[in-house]
Every structure is written in structure tokens, then in C-alpha cells.
């Protein structure tokens, strides 16, 4: 069989983002594979330098479309650390609720995304139906379904709407009641287990070599390496939640960890809703002229635990009204580029799309 070249190209039903994977295939086995990034590149870091600190609040969530709140939180924490702003107590708890709701919506999308390459579209439809309820809750909180611009430097844009607690509680109870049904449809489904058991391995030495973080690392190394535990930000230290880990990291283990994290998120949100104090939600910055607000000079690397791993903003300010340099460390950068080049060959064509989903490769983060 001579070597054939196939494109898991920008236009492919299995490719969720917009990146092109060049597969050199012998029969069904992939011999060499390269990810060609850059389809979604829009000069994001150059754009950040041209907008003032306040304008960037609207540009920030557009980095990674699947989890915009993680970017807002990382940017807001970075600016607060540079400018030395202290966020009021209630804002911390509201931020945690928004972040955990975003994490549930991403895990649901990732779990539904498992249905695409394996062909179980019913799982995808059910997961997206629930995710849509979260988007409606976000629309009530911040006015927009996907890009909320809700977490701003200095706290949260405005307080939670009255009566949002009932919606959140109702959604959480509904999701929890159908949790076993979700497990039967996906991870306990024998036809899907045949696709994800003992395949797409991620051994521990690969984790350190690539720099994989998040679910990939926790499923391979077996320790609770989660930024919310290791470097608690925004009152995560006052919430009891445990971090699921595993040592034998195949696709099933990673997806199982994501489902257990889903349950933990539900617990976190419930605790936040009880412990949330009354009071101020935002510290105004820039005494009225927010467009000419200057942040003192300094370097900071602010980090947030996204659903795929450590998501960091490296910010440099030279004391002006515009950020001097902003670097974005995407959580799926290592798995995406180097992982596909070194660890995708050897699998079959059918596993390529599944490999990209379970490893959590999100192409807007790679191109920025």
C-alpha cells in the first residue's frame, strides 16, 4: 500500500475547530500527521496593544469561543494584581458561580462532542440541550449568551438579577437527576466503550514532555494538580470540593474525570449560592475617565484553571493607557501542535477526530 495523503482539513465534519491536520496514511494506520494552525489567527495580541485597558474587556472573551469567562477572569485578575485593586467579597463568589457554570457548559459540550466522532448523535443532542439552558441563564445574568464581558477588572459588571438562584438550583437539580442517564448513554454504552477503552493513551512522561495540563495531567499523573487547589484564587479555598484523578489515562478515564468534575462543579455552585454575602459588587477604576485609566508598570502572569488546563495571561504594562504586551497561554497549545505531531501517528483514521476531541484541542487558542 503506497502512502496516501488525507486532510482532516479545515472543512471536515470531525474537526470541531478550524485547523487542518495533514495525515499521511498507509491503509488505515496514520504514519505521519501535522497540525497546520493559523486558520483562526486574527492578530489578537497585536489588537490588545492597540486597545486601551477598558476597551480590551470586550476583546478578551473572543480569544477562545468555547470558554469566554476563563479569559475574562484571567485578564481581570492580572489587571487587579498590576493595579493593586482589592475586589469586594460578593464579587469573588459571583465570579466563582459564573466560572463553574461555564465549566459545566464546557464539560457538557466536550461530553456531547464525544458523540460526534463515535456516531452517537443522541448523546450530542441531549448534551447541547442542557448546555442551552446554561446559555439562557448566562443571558439573564449578563445579557449575552456566549460573550458575557461580565467579569471586569475590579469585580463584576453588575449584581446578579433577582430570582436567578431559583433558575440555577432548578437547572442543577435537573442535571443531577439525569446524570446516570448521561453515563449510560455515553461512557457505559458498550458500543462507545469499544471506541474509547484502552485507546488514545496519555502516559505520564508524555505529560511532562509536552507540558499538558488539566484533565490530561490529572488523569495520567494521579495527583490533584488543579490550580484551584494548588494556587486558590477567588475564594476557592473556602469551598470543599475534591479533584478527581486517575493513573491509567486512556480516553475513558479522561472522559470519566470530566464527568466527575461536572458533579464537583454542581457542589461548588451550591456552596457559593449559600455562602454569598450581600454588599458591593464592583470597585470603580479610573475616577470617571475610564478610557484614560493607566495601570502601573509591571509584569504579571495570571493563571486560571480552564476545563482543558492551565490558561494564562502574561501581561506587561509600561504605565500607559494601553497594555504594552499581552501573551496568551492557551491550555490546548501543547497537545495541539506537538502532541499531534508526535503522538497521533500509530492510531487509525477513525481515531483521529476522537483523539483531537478527548485531548481537548481547541484551535482558536493555538492561533489567537
Amino acid at each position: 500500500m503506497r502512502e496516501m495523503k488525507l486532510f482532516l482539513g479545515p472543512q471536515h465534519p470531525g474537526m470541531h475547530g478550524n485547523a487542518s491536520v495533514h495525515l499521511f496514511v498507509d491503509g488505515d494506520i496514520i504514519k505521519r500527521s501535522y497540525l497546520l494552525p493559523g486558520m483562526l489567527h486574527r492578530g489578537f495580541e497585536k489588537g490588545m496593544e492597540r486597545h486601551s485597558w477598558v476597551n480590551n474587556i470586550s476583546l478578551i472573551p473572543r480569544v477562545c469561543v468555547v470558554e469566554p469567562d476563563i479569559n475574562e477572569m484571567a485578564f481581570a485578575m492580572g489587571v487587579e494584581k498590576l493595579a493593586g485593586i482589592e475586589v469586594p467579597e460578593r464579587a469573588h463568589w459571583i465570579r466563582m458561580i459564573v466560572l463553574e457554570l461555564a465549566r459545566i457548559s464546557i464539560h457538557l459540550m466536550a461530553y456531547g462532542g464525544l458523540g460526534g466522532p463515535t456516531g452517537n448523535y443522541t448523546l450530542m443532542y441531549h448534551a447541547h440541550a442542557d448546555r442551552n439552558t446554561i446559555l439562557n441563564i448566562f443571558e439573564k445574568i449578563s445579557g449575552h449568551r456566549v460573550y458575557h464581558q461580565y467579569i471586569v477588572p475590579g469585580g463584576v459588571r453588575k449584581d446578579l438579577p433577582i430570582g436567578i438562584e431559583e433558575d440555577i438550583h432548578e437547572f442543577l437539580n435537573d442535571l443531577e437527576s439525569r446524570y446516570t442517564e448521561y453515563r449510560d448513554l455515553g461512557i457505559e454504552n458498550p458500543s462507545i466503550q469499544a471506541r474509547i477503552n484502552d485507546t488514545i493513551m496519555l502516559p505520564a512522561h508524555v505529560v511532562w514532555e509536552l507540558g499538558v495540563t488539566g484533565v490530561g495531567m490529572r488523569s495520567a499523573v494521579g495527583k490533584a494538580y488543579d490550580i484551584r487547589k494548588v494556587m486558590p484564587y477567588a475564594r476557592y479555598d473556602q469551598d470543599e470540593f475534591d479533584v478527581p484523578t486517575g493513573t491509567y489515562s486512556d480516553a475513558t478515564c479522561r472522559i470519566d474525570i470530566k464527568l466527575q468534575e461536572l458533579v464537583q462543579c454542581i457542589g461548588i455552585i451550591r456552596q457559593c449560592l449559600e455562602k454569598m454575602p450581600k454588599g458591593e459588587v464592583r470597585v470603580p477604576f479610573g475616577k470617571g475617565q475610564s478610557m484614560r485609566w493607566t495601570v502601573p508598570a509591571g509584569h504579571v502572569y495570571s493563571v486560571v484553571e480552564s476545563s482543558r488546563g492551565e490558561f494564562g495571561y502574561y501581561m506587561v504594562s509600561d504605565g500607559g493607557t494601553h497594555p504594552y504586551r499581552v501573551g496568551v497561554r492557551g491550555a490546548s497549545y501543547p497537545q495541539g501542535l506537538l502532541g499531534i505531531e508526535k503522538y497521533l501517528p500509530g492510531t487509525r483514521i477513525d481515531d483521529a477526530a476522537l483523539w483531537i476531541d478527548t485531548m481537548g484541542v481547541c484551535s482558536p487558542e493555538i492561533d489567537r
Binding site: P10, Q11, N18, L36, H41, H126
Partner: protein, 192 residues
Amino acid sequence: MESTKFSPITKLSKEEVDRKWWEIGDFFRRNSLWMLMYCTGCCAIELPPAMTSAYDMERLGMGPMATPRQADVLLVTGYLSLKTLRRVIYTYEQMSEPKYIVGFGSCTINGGIYHDSHVVINQLDQYIPVDTYVAGCMPNTEAVMNGFIDLMSLIKNKKADGWKRYKKNYEWYKKNQIDSLGEVQVHDEYHQ
């Protein structure tokens, strides 16, 4: 005196017959639009809720199709960097006639939030013929469904003729593409 019941059958000219067949074809094309599974930009995150149980695009007869040959609607969702635009032009030219384009988000109308970026084009209409736009920076899912219904009504009153415009002034489109993109030829780093 002739009988008024059977008026003489007016002999339809060839164009009228074609137009009648075309209207019947439009009825079928309108009610079974197949969109191409190609998430070109960040507005594509509003397609899953539109396709799945929340808003269910299949009620309108629309469904995702895997390859450009089979699809008739190309949804250009979100901003277009130069690399994506080259591949969108490739894909558009592979689709079978009559084909339609829906531009999502303000980035296809005037460059949106990336109007000053060195890699994002500002106006999609210069490069490929766009039939209808859905405004908004990430248009809401209801707006997306309204966009589809707008496209259907355009097909109904025969205004969705983007592919005819593309054929008629092909050189103008090609000149714009070459000016902005340098060359539309796609040769990637790993092309042996």
C-alpha cells in the same frame, strides 16, 4: 360565438416554461437547504444550539452535510483570516449550483472588532457573493434561525442569485481576491 368555458391555451414561450420549472425547483431547494459543516470563525458556536434540540434547524428542512459537493448553503460564520478565506473560496467553487452564502456576524459585514487587524478582511462581499447577512457579534440563535428564514424567502422571490453574480463578473471577484490575498493557490508547508 366561441365558448367562454375553454379559453384558447396560450402557447407558453420557452422562457416561461423554464421559469415555471425553476419556481418548482425553488420550492424544493427552499424546503431542503443543506448547510456545509464548516466552522470558519467564532460565530460557529451558535450553530450547535441551532442544529440540536434547542432550536432544531431540521424543522426547516436544513441539515449539516459533510462535503461541499453535497451542500447548497455555505455559512461563513465569523471573521475570515487570509488563510481561511483562501480555503473558503476553494470550498465555494466546489459546491454544486445553485448555491447560497449566509454571512454571520458583523465581521463579514465590515470587519467587526478586527477591522484594524493585519490578517482579517474587512468586507466579505468583495471576494465571494453573499446572499444574506446575520448581524451581531455572535448573533443570537434566534437571529440565526431568522437568517435562515430570510434566505428561504430570498430564494422564494428569486433574489438569492449570488452564484449568478459570481459567474457574471468573475474577473472582478478574481481581481479583488488576488489583490488582497496575493494568490488563492493553497500550498501548505507539508505539500510534497
